[in-house]
C-alpha cells in the first residue's frame, strides 16, 4: 500500500477524475503536446465515450490513464489522474510508483485493444492466457484459475467454451478473439474497462454482437467503461456521456443524447454532419454528395445540399462480368497436397454503364475485393468472362491485356501503402503516362500538374515524397495516379475505409465530382452501407463469393429482399442515441468459411427478378435459406 490510506468513499464520488492532464512526446522537431489541459470524470458503472479523429489524443489519453504512455516514449507533463480503488482509497495514478500500477493495471482497470490478433500471444492457449491474468492478480491455484477462465469464456457467450480453452489464438476468428480479449480483461472483475477502438477491425455484424456483449457485461458486473472510438455510430450505440476531442484538447463534453441532438461546438457539428447516415437518401433514386458544412466565426454552421448525381449515360455497358470464378488452392504438408479450395468468387455476373457507380458490398471474406482484383488482372480468374466494350480481357494476349490497364484503374484501401515511399509523388503519378507512352518530356510534367490540380492539390507537391502528406492527401494522389491514363472504369477498393470521417466525406465528394466531369464508371467496393448509399447507382451484395442481391440502390436499400442484406443493414450502427433500443434481430453466429473440400463446389443458381432490375438469390447460400 502507498502512504496515507485515507478512505474518502463518498457514495457519489466519481471513479476516475482526470484534472488538467498534459501529455508530451519528445520528437525530432521538438516537444509534441498530444494532450493539453484535459479534464473529465467517469462515474461508477457509466460509459464515457471519447471520440475524435486520428491525432486527436483520444488513445493517448487512455494510455496515460493506464500509465502505459511511458512505453511509447510519452511523458505525463502535468495534471492528476485520480482513481478510486476497490478499497475506496483515491490514488493519483499520475504519480503512482511501478508497484502500485502493476496492482491497478489489469486488476482494477483493464484494457482491450483494437487488434485482437496482436494482443493475444500466439504461442499460448486461450485458457492459459486467461488463467495467467487470474493467477497473477488473485493468487489462485492452477486448477482454480482454469475453472475461472472457463467461467469467463462462458460469460462472454462463446459457444463451446470448454473446447476453446486448449485452442491457440490463430484458430479463432477476429470476433472470437475479441471475445477472448474481453474475457481476459474482465477476469479480475475490474472497476473500469478501457476499450480502445475494440470493434474497428471487425465486420459490422460482429461489431454489433461485441457492442451488445460489452453492454450486457457492464450491467452484470457494474463496471465503468471508457470507450475510445472514431465512429459516431458506435458512440450513439454505447455511450452515456460523450467527450469530443480535437488536436489534444477537449472540444465538448455532455450527455450522449444532448451531444447528438444539440451539439454546441462547430467542430462537433462538422463531425456529425460528415458521418454517413444509413437512410439519408431514402426515397431518392440518385446518389448525392455529402453536404458541406462551412464553419463560421462564432460557431454557426451552414449546410449546402448538393444536387443529385445524374451521370449514367448510354445503355451499352462499359464493363461486363459474366460468370466470373476465382478460387485459391489450400495446400498442406511437405508434398503440397491439395486439401481444400477457397471459393472467393463464384459465378459472379454484373455490368456497369458509363457514368454509373456499382457498389460491391459485403463483409470480410465475401469475395468483393477478389472480384475487383480479378477484373484488374491482379488475380488470375479460373473461368468466366470480363468484357470491356464487348471484348474479353481473359481471352487477350499478355501484351494487349497490359495495355488495357490504361482503361481500367484501381484505387487501393491503404493510401499509406500504395505509394512507393522511395519515389516522389510526381514520379508515381507519371508512372502510368511513361509506362504506356502517353506523354514524353515536358508534357509529362504538365499532365502531372494538371492531375494534381484536378484532385485538389497543388502542382508543386509533385516534388515531395509520400511521407510528407496526410492520409487524405495521399488518397488524392492515388486517385490522380489512377486518372493519369484516362481510364473509363475506376475500381475503388475500400478507398475511404482507412480515412477519418471528415476526410472520407471529402474523398467521396471528389470521386463523385470526377465522375460528373469525366463520366467515369466506378466499381465501389465497400463494407460501409452508409457510404454506399451516398455514392452508388446500383448495389450488389456479396456473401461467400456469390452475389445474393443486386439492383438499383434505392430498391435494395428500401426493400432489401435477401435475409443477408437485411441482417447487414440491421447491424449498421446508427448515429442517433434515441434509436439505440430499436428492435433488432438477434445477431448470433459467425460468417461461415468459404473454404470447401477440393471437389465440392457450392451450389450456384440463377437470381430471380423481384423488381425492375432488382435480382435476388432465392436459394440457400451458406446458412441463409
Amino acid at each position: 500500500m502507498t502512504a496515507a490510506p485515507v478512505p474518502v468513499a463518498a457514495p457519489q464520488s466519481p471513479l476516475v477524475r482526470v484534472d488538467g492532464l498534459n501529455v508530451e512526446f519528445a520528437t525530432e522537431g521538438g516537444v509534441f503536446r498530444a494532450v493539453q489541459d484535459l479534464s473529465f470524470h467517469i462515474d461508477p458503472g457509466e460509459t464515457l465515450a471519447v471520440v475524435g479523429e486520428s491525432g486527436s489524443g483520444k488513445s493517448v489519453t487512455s494510455l496515460a490513464l493506464m500509465r502505459l504512455i511511458e512505453f511509447g516514449g510519452g511523458r505525463i507533463a502535468g495534471g492528476k489522474l485520480e482513481f478510486r480503488g476497490r478499497d475506496g482509497v483515491v490514488r493519483d495514478l499520475a504519480s503512482a510508483d511501478a508497484q502500485t500500477m502493476n496492482r491497478v493495471r489489469g486488476n482494477e482497470i483493464a484494457m482491450i485493444f483494437q487488434e485482437p490478433m496482436t494482443s493475444l500471444n500466439p504461442v499460448f492457449t486461450i485458457g492459459d492466457q486467461i488463467a495467467e491474468a487470474v493467477r497473477l492478480h488473485q493468487g489462485a491455484s492452477r486448477a482454480e484459475a482454469r475453472a475461472e477462465a472457463l467461467a469467463m469464456l462462458e460469460k462472454v457467450r462463446i459457444p463451446g467454451a470448454k473446447g476453446l480453452l486448449d485452442r491457440h489464438p490463430h484458430q479463432l476468428s477476429g470476433g472470437m478473439r475479441q471475445r477472448v480479449m474481453i474475457a481476459m480483461a474482465l477476469a479480475c472483475r475490474p472497476k473500469l474497462l478501457v476499450a480502445d477502438e475494440p470493434t474497428t477491425a471487425l465486420d459490422v455484424t460482429i461489431q454489433a454482437q461485441i457492442l451488445r456483449l460489452i453492454r450486457i457485461l457492464q450491467d452484470e458486473m457494474g463496471m465503468a467503461v471508457l470507450f475510445i472510438t472514431h465512429d459516431m455510430g458506435v458512440v450513439a450505440e454505447v455511450a452515456d456521456r460523450v467527450l469530443v476531442m480535437n488536436k489534444g484538447r477537449k472540444v465538448e463534453e455532455g450527455v450522449a443524447e444532448e451531444i447528438f441532438a444539440r451539439p454546441q461546438h462547430a467542430y462537433t457539428r462538422a463531425l456529425l454532419a460528415a458521418v454517413p447516415r444509413l437512410g439519408a437518401l431514402a426515397g431518392e433514386p440518385l446518389p448525392r454528395r455529402f453536404p458541406l458544412v462551412e464553419i463560421k466565426e462564432g460557431g454557426g454552421g451552414a449546410f449546402t445540399e448538393a444536387p443529385p448525381q445524374d451521370t449514367v449515360t448510354g445503355s451499352a455497358p462499359v464493363l461486363e462480368v459474366k460468370n466470373l470464378v476465382t478460387r485459391f488452392d489450400v495446400r498442406r504438408g511437405i508434398f503440397g497436397r491439395l486439401s481444400g479450395r477457397v471459393h472467393a468468387v463464384e459465378q459472379v455476373s454484373f455490368s456497369v454503364k458509363a457514368g454509373e457507380t456499382l457498389a460491391l458490398v459485403g463483409e470480410s471474406g465475401c469475395g468483393k475485393s477478389t472480384t475487383g482484383r480479378t477484373i484488374m488482372q491482379l488475380q488470375a480468374a479460373d473461368s468466366g468472362q470480363i468484357l470491356f466494350h464487348g471484348r474479353d480481357l481473359l481471352a487477350m494476349g499478355a501484351q494487349e491485356r497490359r495495355s488495357m490497364r490504361q482503361k481500367i484503374q484501381y484505387v487501393f484501401q491503404d493510401p499509406f501503402a500504395s505509394l512507393d515511399p522511395r519515389l516522389t509523388v510526381g514520379f508515381s503519378i507519371a508512372e502510368p503516362l511513361t509506362t504506356h507512352n502517353l506523354a514524353t518530356g515536358k508534357a509529362v510534367e504538365e499532365r502531372v500538374a494538371e492531375l494534381l490540380r484536378d484532385v485538389g492539390l497543388s502542382p508543386d507537391h509533385a516534388r515531395r515524397y509520400p511521407h510528407e502528406f496526410s492520409g487524405g492527401q495521399r488518397q488524392r494522389i492515388c486517385i490522380a495516379r489512377a486518372l493519369a491514363s484516362e481510364p473509363e472504369v475506376l475500381i475503388a477498393d475500400e478507398a475511404v475505409a482507412a480515412l477519418d470521417v471528415s476526410i472520407q466525406a471529402q474523398i467521396v465528394n471528389l470521386l463523385m465530382e470526377l465522375q460528373e466531369k469525366r463520366r467515369l464508371s466506378y466499381i465501389f467496393i465497400s463494407h460501409d452501407m452508409a457510404v454506399v448509399e451516398r455514392v452508388s447507382h446500383r448495389v450488389a451484395v456479396m456473401y461467400l463469393g456469390q452475389i445474393v442481391e443486386i439492383g438499383p440502390r434505392q430498391a435494395v436499400f428500401d426493400h432489401p429482399a435477401h435475409p443477408y442484406t437485411r441482417r447487414l443493414m440491421a447491424a449498421v450502427p446508427i448515429a442517433d442515441p434515441a434509436r439505440r433500443d430499436r428492435e433488432r434481430p438477434l445477431l448470433e453466429g459467425e460468417i461461415p468459411s468459404a473454404i470447401r473440400a477440393p471437389n465440392d463446389p457450392p451450389e450456384v443458381r440463377a437470381l430471380v427478378e423481384v423488381g425492375e432490375g432488382h435480382f435476388v438469390a432465392r436459394y440457400s447460400i451458406g446458412d441463409f435459406r
Binding site: T27, E28, G29, F32, E53, S54, G55, S56, G73, N246, K247, A266, Y267, A270, L271, A274, L292, V293, E294, I295, M376, Q377, L378, R402, S403, R405, Q406, Q409, Y410, F412, Q413, D414, A417, S418, L419, D420, P421, R422, L423, E431, P432, T435, H436, R463, R464, Y465, H467, E468, S470, G471, G472, Q473, C478, R481, S485, D500, S502, I503, A505, Q506
Partner: protein
C-alpha cells in the same frame, strides 16, 4: 469540410527530405563508422598514389639490408630480400582493395539479380536458384574458392572470380528475402495495376528496397573477401611472388618469424585493421539504414 477538421500536423519537417539526405542525417551520428570510413578513404588514396608515396620500390631487393627491424630508414623494417616492408604494404593495399571490391561487386551483382528474380517470380525458378545457392553455401567459403582456383588455375585474377562465387549465394538470399516481403506491398500491386512491366517493377520498386541491406552486407563482405584472398595467397594459390600481396607477404615472412617478426607482424596488422574497418563501417551503415532500428 472545414479547417477545424483538417488532419493534425504531427512532425514532418518543413524542408524536403530526400532518401539520401535522410540516410546521411542518420549515418552522421555513427561516430565509429565515420572514423572507419575515413580510414578506408585514406587507405584508398594511399593505394591509388602508392608509387608517389612509397619511399622504396616494393620489388627491388637490397641485399645490404635484409631482415632489419623497424628503423628511421625502413619504418616497418625489411624482409629476407631487403625489400622495404612499409612500401610493400602500401602497394599491397592496391591489390587487396581491388580484389575485395571487384570480387564483391561481381558476386553482389550476380547474387542480387538472381535473388530479386527468384523472389519475384517464385515457383520453379525460385526453387532452382535457391537449391543452387544451398549447394554453394554447403561448402566452407575457402574450400569453394580453392575448388574454383583448382579449375581456373592460380593467380590474382582468378582469386577475384573464386571469391565472387562464394559471395553470390549470400547476396541472392539477402535480395530474395527483401523481395519476398516487398512484393506483397500494395504499391507493387499498384504498379502492376498500372501495367508496368515485370522488369521495370523489379528495377524500380523492388531493387531499391533491397539496396539498404545489400549496401550493409557489401561493406562487410569486402572485409571477408580481403581475408579470403589473403588466405588463398598465403597458401600459394593467389598472388604469386614477388607481388606484394598481404597474404603472400605473411607466407614469405613466416620462416623468419623467430628472427624478424616485423616481416609478418606489419602485413598482419594491415589485414586486421582493414577488415575491422570494413566491418565497423558495415555496422554503422546498418544502424543508419535498417528500417527496424529506425523507429526511435
Amino acid at each position: 469540410m472545414s479547417t477545424a477538421t483538417s488532419a493534425p500536423a504531427i512532425v514532418v519537417a518543413s524542408d524536403m527530405r530526400t532518401p539520401l539526405g535522410e540516410f546521411w542525417r542518420r549515418f552522421r551520428r555513427q561516430k565509429v563508422a565515420l572514423v572507419a570510413g575515413a580510414f578506408l578513404l585514406a587507405l584508398l588514396l594511399v593505394a591509388i598514389f602508392a608509387p608517389w608515396i612509397a619511399p622504396y620500390d616494393p620489388a627491388t631487393p637490397d641485399y645490404m639490408a635484409i631482415l632489419q627491424g623497424p628503423t628511421a630508414a625502413h619504418w616497418a623494417g625489411t624482409d629476407a630480400y631487403g625489400r622495404d616492408v612499409f612500401s610493400r604494404i602500401l602497394f599491397g593495399a592496391r591489390i587487396s582493395l581491388a580484389v575485395g571490391f571487384l570480387s564483391v561487386s561481381l558476386g553482389g551483382l550476380v547474387g542480387v539479380s538472381l535473388g530479386v528474380i527468384s523472389g519475384y517470380y517464385g515457383g520453379l525458378i525460385d526453387s532452382l536458384i535457391m537449391r543452387v545457392c544451398d549447394v554453394l553455401l554447403a561448402f566452407p567459403g575457402i574450400l569453394l574458392a580453392i575448388g574454383v582456383i583448382a579449375i581456373l588455375g592460380p593467380g590474382i585474377d582468378n582469386v577475384i572470380y573464386a571469391v565472387a562465387v562464394f559471395s553470390v549465394p549470400i547476396f541472392a538470399r539477402l535480395a530474395r528475402g527483401s523481395t519476398l516481403s516487398l512484393k506483397r506491398a500494395v504499391y507493387v500491386d499498384a504498379a502492376r495495376a498500372i501495367g508496368v512491366k515485370d522488369r521495370v517493377i523489379m528495377m524500380r520498386h523492388l531493387l531499391p528496397g533491397a539496396l539498404p541491406n545489400v549496401i550493409v552486407y557489401f561493406s562487410m563482405r569486402i572485409g571477408t573477401s580481403i581475408l579470403t584472398a589473403a588466405s588463398l595467397s598465403f597458401i600459394g594459390l593467389g598472388a604469386q611472388p614477388p607481388s606484394p600481396e598481404w597474404g603472400a607477404m605473411l607466407a614469405d615472412g613466416r620462416s623468419y618469424i623467430g628472427v624478424a617478426d616485423n616481416v609478418t607482424l606489419f602485413p598482419g596488422i594491415a589485414i586486421f585493421v582493414t577488415v575491422l574497418a570494413f566491418n565497423l563501417l558495415g555496422d554503422g551503415l546498418r544502424d543508419a539504414l535498417d528500417p527496424k532500428l529506425r523507429m526511435a
